[in-house]
């Protein structure tokens, strides 16, 4: 339990953040919002953000902007990548989308659902099905959770991943039903083994045929099932409905969203409950709860800054977006895998644990080495230019001002004076911004968001 949050008054926490003299809407807060609700932003985006209000920015993030050209370009590119039937290629394409998307919150939520409904190319192997699932997650990213669950329950990649495709009347395969309760909707302790067995029967006959969902009535169990005390000739759709009606669903999802957006660790029930109630009242629509979280007093307070470990994707894409950088994304996809986050290849059905589990000796050194490769690679471009020219174009020339510009852009919390002095010495060596960026990326503070 995150004791830091025990004492917090929920009515303060979820009250709407209004900028004021004590807590101005500035670059630091805008950078925080972009880090959590997206993958970071460059100086131009931050300046634009603070010229408006936080409410406007959040609305734009939640609703999204129309970008038909980008969408067409992405669709075409992803279909081409999938045609080679190597799921690994999808990861590079997705990183491209994260790097350039005008709708970072939708992309961030797509990543959230990828970890939530984790499905791995290691088992599914068919790139097209994995891409279809990725698009499904994006379509529903900030939509109706109930529809998302129903869609994922019929999603061929998921059916293959959790063996529902072989869930037959004579031998129900409990894998999908178990994860639906344990990992997707309710969490441990909110159901019995018996609920799992009965729920598995509801999904019998849900198969994949030639890459598409098919209901096979000959393998379906039409008998009476009993789930959570309700009895009936439940179908799979009924099964999902009964699960979603459990009050644990809203609490489970809100808890996970708070861990994703606000802070690592757990939150006390009194903080969860108001949002869970809102989520239920909204009929499990996600937009309202996300608006509340991203617009709250708690979200912009010091209690939250630097209280999340940056995931590898946040680390890598954050560096690129922050410097408007262009790199070889195949290389990046592979390196992020070595840091513990292979997109399209989550480690298991539970997705990524996140938090402290991202951090160990190998990943710390790997993050540093990756930062070095990104900034020193001769092919990398920053706003189409080389690093010193790009930084000069941003007005970054003088060592101390330049260092502070980078720190404000990238780091959520202050660094110790002596660390600042070491980085400044590097910056003063001349032609050393790559070294400064490298040293900054290995700072303990840089690993936090």
């Amino acid at each position: 339990m995150n004791s830091r949050f025990q004492e917090i008054d929920p009515s303060w926490a979820w009250r709407r953040y209004e900028p004021g003299p004590e807590s101005p809407w500035n670059k630091r807060r805008a950078a925080h919002l972009f880090r959590r609700a997206g993958f970071g932003a460059d100086a131009a985006a931050l300046n634009e953000a603070i010229s408006g209000s936080p409410g406007e920015l959040i609305e734009r993030l939640v609703v999204g902007v129309d970008a038909p050209d980008f969408t067409d370009q992405m669709n075409q590119m992803m279909r081409t990548l999938a045609a080679g039937n190597n799921p690994r290629n999808l990861a590079s394409g997705w990183l491209y989308r994260m790097r350039y998307t005008p709708n970072p919150l939708h992309e961030k939520m797509t990543l959230f659902w990828h970890g939530h409904f984790a499905t791995s190319g290691a088992k599914v192997e068919k790139a097209e099905l994995l891409l279809n699932q990725n698009e499904l997650l994006r379509r529903h990213a900030i939509g109706d959770f109930g529809q998302l669950v129903l869609a994922i329950a019929r999603d061929p990649a998921m059916l293959l991943y959790l063996d529902s495709a072989t869930n037959r009347k004579s031998h129900p395969n409990e894998n999908f039903a178990r994860e639906l309760l344990e990992l997707f909707c309710l969490g441990l302790g909110a159901y019995t083994e018996r609920d799992i067995q009965e729920l598995a029967r509801c999904f019998t006959g849900w198969e994949v045929n030639q890459g598409e969902f098919r209901f096979n009535r000959f393998q379906a169990d039409f008998g009476v099932k009993s789930i959570f005390g309700k009895r009936g000739n439940f179908t799979g759709e009924d099964g999902v409905r009964v699960v979603l009606e459990q009050p644990a669903t809203s609490r489970f999802l809100v808890r996970k969203l708070l861990r994703f957006f606000v802070a690592d660790g757990d939150f006390p029930d009194p903080l969860i409950e108001p949002l869970a109630a809102q989520f239920r009242a909204d009929g499990l629509q996600l937009a309202g709860v996300i608006r509340t979280i991203l617009g709250s007093e708690l979200f912009y307070s010091d209690r939250v800054a630097g209280r999340k470990v940056r995931s590898p994707v946040e680390f890598g894409i954050g560096l690129l977006r922050g410097l408007d950088a262009t790199v070889n994304l195949n290389m990046l996809a592979e390196e992020l895998g070595a840091l513990g986050q292979s997109l399209i290849f989550p480690p298991n059905v539970k997705g990524w644990d996140g938090g402290k589990s991202w951090i160990n000796s190998a990943t710390i050194l790997g993050r540093g080495n990756l930062a070095r490769r990104l900034v020193t690679n001769s092919e990398t471009r920053f706003g189409g230019r080389k690093l010193p020219e790009y930084l000069a174009g941003q007005g970054v020339v003088e060592p101390e001002a330049g260092l502070n510009w980078l720190l404000e852009q990238f780091i959520a919390i202050p660094i110790p004076e002596s660390s600042h002095a070491r980085l400044l010495e590097l910056a003063q060596r001349g032609d050393a911004w790559a070294d400064v960026l490298h040293a900054m990326a290995v700072l303990p503070e840089f690993q936090l968001s």
């Binding site: 072989t166 070595a338 513990g340 951090i359 002596s418």
Partner: protein, 409 residues
């Protein structure tokens, strides 16, 4: 640097504090960098992730119930590598059969725990924490032991080899345990720029107070990582493998571990995983491949350590979070089960079968019943191999299992 090392040597008990969150950064650094000795005993844990099908690993090849329950997956008497008149290894396990013959392999049967949990994550957490009570699972059984270790080691006391998430078994109160994918990943690349390396080192060591526990954690991890980078560089220079390792991910990891052991790396616990045992569908080929990888890699590792005269101080333990159902499912696979065998290997084990094979005519909800609590195996390793207070670490007393030679102390 010299003064820090000297300070530490003069007062080695300070290493006890090596990574406590309140410890000044320069002490963490000094502890991590202090010289190694290679006399200590080592445990290598091989985790078989996904739930290994124990029944097709040690096969009751004459058992009628087994054959009937597995029309497509049963392995016959003509195929198994016989252990005795009832039991035999899966035919892919030639390496284990060899090690058994050489007296280096102990097969502990019917291992599990009461009220088995059939969720991968729950059951793995139970094995990792050695606690069935959900609320007390923040630390690992090995992590708790690492917190008990005497202050004589400046090396990382435990290393996890692999890119997957670090196992809960290694979760400690104080010491962040290192994970390595390959040895290359243990080297900080500064492009030969000494000033940069210094800046990185000193920036990490700056005092940060302790109001943000996440920051303290990352700082300790960073200091540990920078020190480890230097050690690994130095440690791998002198080693050559004495045997040919098979070409597999597991074999490669075990060979790297042999390298570090041979180089006098004073790490007490090495941890590796082999994933893929969740064989719900078309199990036969996948399972055979996994068992071949396991037994081939472990066998080469034991032979290599023996040739380098380290096997007397190394113990290898292999486990899985659960076994699988007795009956196969409709997909030529098997679903999550309960009790299964564990393996312990080395030159100090009591070789052969330990305990009886679980009865197949007396099942618990379709699964073999356990008769040996896995924590009895842990207790044996903790108390007899490492001379640590097993009862304290495991939270209660567990009767040891007799799988180690009586003369190991």
């Amino acid at each position: 640097m010299k003064t820090r090392r000297g300070f530490l040597t003069a007062s080695s008990s300070l290493a006890l504090l090596s990574f406590a969150e309140s410890t000044p950064a320069f002490l963490m650094r000094a502890a991590a960098a202090s010289a190694a000795s290679n006399a200590g005993r080592v445990l290598v844990v091989v985790q078989l992730s996904g739930g290994n099908d124990g029944l097709n690993t040690i096969v009751p090849y004459r058992n009628e119930i087994y054959r009937r329950a597995r029309p497509s997956l049963a392995i016959g008497a003509d195929q198994v590598l016989k252990i005795d008149g009832e039991l035999g290894f899966h035919p892919a396990m030639r390496g284990f059969a060899d090690q058994l013959e050489q007296g280096r392999l102990s097969l502990i049967q019917g291992v599990g725990y009461a009220n088995p949990n059939r969720s991968h994550f729950e059951s793995m957490d139970i094995w990792h924490s050695a606690r069935t009570n959900h609320s007390s699972r923040s630390l690992g059984w090995l992590g708790r032991m690492l917190d008990e270790l005497p202050p004589d080691s400046g090396d990382a006391p435990a290393l996890h080899f692999g890119d997957e998430t670090q196992p809960l078994a290694l979760a400690t109160l104080r010491t962040p345990v290192s994970s390595v994918g390959s040895l290359e990943r243990f080297r900080l690349d500064v492009g030969g720029r000494a000033a940069l390396r210094r800046a990185i080192q000193e920036s990490a060591e700056s005092d940060r107070g302790s109001s943000n526990d996440l920051l303290s954690f990352v700082q300790a991890s960073t200091i540990n990582a920078l020190a480890a980078s230097e050690r690994v560089d130095a440690a791998v220079k002198s080693y050559r493998a004495a045997v040919d390792y098979p070409k597999s991910g597991l074999a490669e990891k075990l060979q790297r571990i042999a390298q570090l052991i041979d180089a006098g790396f004073n790490t007490r616990i090495f941890y590796v995983s082999l994933d893929g045992f969740d064989t719900h569908a078309t199990q036969a080929a996948a399972h055979a491949g996994l068992l071949e990888q396991l037994s081939g890699a472990v066998s080469a590792f034991l032979n290599d350590l023996h040739a380098h005269q380290h096997l007397d101080r190394v113990l290898l333990m292999a486990f899985s979070e659960f076994g699988r159902r007795v009956a196969e499912n409709a997909s030529q696979g098997t679903d999550h089960g309960a009790a299964a065998p564990m393996f312990v290997a080395g030159s100090r084990v009591r070789t052969g079968l330990i305990g009886h094979h679980p009865r197949l005519d007396d099942l618990d909800d379709g699964d073999p019943k356990f008769h040996t609590d896995f924590r009895r195996v842990y207790a044996t390793i903790l108390a007899r191999w490492f001379q640590q207070p097993a009862g304290e670490i495991l939270g209660q007393h567990y009767e040891p299992v007799d799988f180690l030679n009586s003369n190991i102390g």
